[in-house]
Amino acid sequence: MNMATLVGVLIVVLLPLSLWAFITESYHKRPGAKRRAGELLRAVLTAEQYGQLIQQGYLDIPSPSDPERVYRVPRSPGQVQVREKGHVTKWLCLQPFERVPDADLVVIHKLMIEADEQTYLQKANSITPIAVSLSNDPV
């Protein structure tokens, strides 16, 4: 393969990829989208919940069905921890079909957990930590 062909191949492959990355990045970083998502987050969370999210980087949502269970939702995209008696018992992964601003992800988790916990648990993929899994195995 000569140099001209190599450069041609690189342009054909890299140009669309760079364009796609630029579009996705600028789309996600739209100030209007982030601002509106931040406003919705403030409107949906209580002052206490908002404070926890900003200061600690996560939001603890008590389970409506189990007083010992708490869902720890991260401020940035990531897995949700299911905590019981202070210990992580599971990680949950759930995401919207379309990409949304980070603040909207927190809103989605909160609304679904508080209003429809069973559907939330059915839809989320769950991962059980090995230590928890082993401790629950019959001897």
Binding site: H28, A37, L94, P96, V100, L111, E114, A115, K123, N125
Partner: protein, 81 residues
Amino acid sequence: MGMLRIISNRGDERLRWNEQDVLAGDAEALAAIREAERIFARERARGATAFRVEAGKPVERLEQFDAQVSQIVMVPRVVGG
């Protein structure tokens, strides 16, 4: 005032209506309600879930559009990650 907020990749889109004007038969207010109902039905058909979010009240799922609710938030279809 009532508000429908639809979460999307553009943040959330908002549609407002004035319930008092609707009751008074105001044409613009009636048109806003009809538009909110249409968008609600369209998003539900796409798999979105609607929630009633009002200050001081527990969040509830909403199966049908309700103009009496002060804030409805629609969440797009979700999948296990």
